[in-house]
Assembly symmetry: D2
C-alpha cells in the first residue's frame, strides 16, 4: 500500500530566530497532511461539521525532532493510519526534507484523534460512514 | 488623557529566520492590546458574542514597520480610539521597545473594526451599550 | 501581461473562533504568494541571503478585508509589482475565493518591501541583479 | 518546592474554527512558560546565544489534551524540570484554566530539550554554568 504524502514549502512564517522551522509548526504541517489525506478519501471537514454536527479533535501528540528544516526547504509530509476505533483513531506521520532524489527524515510522530459534538465539545463516536472510508 | 498600553514579551514563536519579529505578528500584538483595552473598559468579547450574538471584525489594517524587535525584547503596545461610529471604529496603535527608561517606536498603524452578526457574518450596527463605553 | 497567482488552501491553523480565517493570516498568504512569485523568477530568498548577505524586509502593509474565508476554502492569491526602485519595491496583492469558475475578492492590499544587510539590519540598496529580474 | 507558573490569556490568535484553542498553540504556551522560568533563574536566551554561541532546541514533545480552552480564558502554565543532564534536560508542564479559585487541567506534557551550536546546529553539551542554575 502506498503511503499518503503531501508537499509543503517552508516560508518565512514557519521559521524562528534560530534560523530553522519552529518546532511547533510541525504540528501544523502534520495537520495539513492529515487534512489532505482525508480530502483524498472524500472527507471534507467543514462540510462534515455542517452535515454531522461533529468534528475531529486532536487528543494526543508525540513528536520527535531529528534534523532542522530551513527557509525555502521543500518538505514531504506523510500520514498513515495505524488504528481506527469507534472513539478514536491514531496516525503515524513523518516530515522529510527532499534533496535531489533523497528524503531525509526531519520529524516523526504519533497523533491521536477523537470525535466530539461541535456544539457541546463532548466526546462522541466517530460516524461509521467516516470509519468505513478511513479503514 | 492617558494612553492605554500593554506589555508584550517577544518569544521564539514571534521571531523568524531574519532574527527579528515576523512583521505579521504585530497584528497579533495590536489585537492583544485592543483586547486588553476593551477588557479594561469591561468589554469581554467572548461573553459579548454569547450575549449579543455579534462580534467585532477587523476590516482594514495599515501598518508601518520602523525598527525590528528581537527575541526577549520587552515591548509596550498602545491602543487609542480615533473614531467611533455606529458601523465602525478606528484605532491608532503603536509598538515600542522598552530599553531602560526609553521607548523606541518599532511599528505603528491604524486598525478599522466593524461589527457583524456572528452567525451570518453580515455587517451590523455596533450595540450602543458598547459604543457608550468606548467613546 | 498575466498576473502571478498562487493557490492556498485554508486549514484549521488559519481560522479563529469566529469561524473564519484570522485576518492577520492574509499577510502570511500574501508572503507565500510573493515568495513563489520570486521563485518563479529564479529568486530564492534563502540562497540570496547566503550569497548577498542581504534580505528583503516588509516596511509597510495596508490591507482591506472584504469577505471572510472559511475552513477548506480554496483561495487564489496574486502578486503584482507596481513599483521597483533602488531602495524599495511595492506590490499589489489580492486573495480570492474560488467557487466553481468564479473568483470572489476576499482581501486586497499593498505591501512595500525594502532591503537590509542581514547582519546589521541596516537598509541598503536592492542588488541590481534582483531588480533587473523583477522589473 | 513551589512550582513555577506563568499566566497566559487566550486571544483570538490562539483559537480555531472549532471555537477553542488550536492544540498546536499549547506548545507556544509551554515555550513561554519555560522562557519565563529560565528568565526567573537569570537565564536570558538571546543574551545566551550571543555570549555562548549556543542555544536550546526542543527535541521531543509529548502532549495530552484533556479539555478545551476558549477565547478570553485565563490559563496558568507550569514548568518543572524532571531531568537535567549534560546533553539534554526534560520538563513536565501543565496548562490549567483558572475559574474562580479552581484550577482545571486542560493539557499536560513532557518536553525534552537539547543544546546546539547556533551556527552549525550540531548538538553540544549544555554549558555547566546553565546546568548549575537549573538543577
Amino acid at each position: 500500500m502506498s503511503m499518503f504524502s503531501w508537499p509543503i514549502r517552508v516560508y518565512w512564517e514557519d521559521t524562528d530566530a534560530g534560523g530553522i522551522v519552529f518546532y511547533a509548526n510541525y504540528l501544523k504541517f502534520f495537520e495539513r497532511a492529515r487534512t489532505e489525506w482525508l480530502r483524498s478519501k472524500g472527507v471534507h471537514q467543514h462540510s462534515l461539521k455542517i452535515s454531522t454536527g461533529g468534528m475531529f479533535v486532536v487528543t494526543d501528540t508525540a513528536l520527535s525532532y531529528k534534523l532542522p528544516a530551513r527557509l525555502d526547504d521543500e518538505l514531504l509530509v506523510t500520514a498513515h493510519i495505524t488504528h481506527a476505533g469507534r472513539a478514536s483513531m491514531q496516525l503515524q506521520q513523518e516530515a522529510y526534507k527532499v534533496v535531489a532524489d533523497e528524503k531525509i527524515l526531519l520529524c516523526e510522530g504519533t497523533i491521536r484523534i477523537g470525535w466530539v459534538n461541535a456544539g457541546t465539545l463532548q466526546p462522541a463516536r466517530i460516524p461509521s460512514s467516516i470509519l468505513d472510508v478511513l479503514k
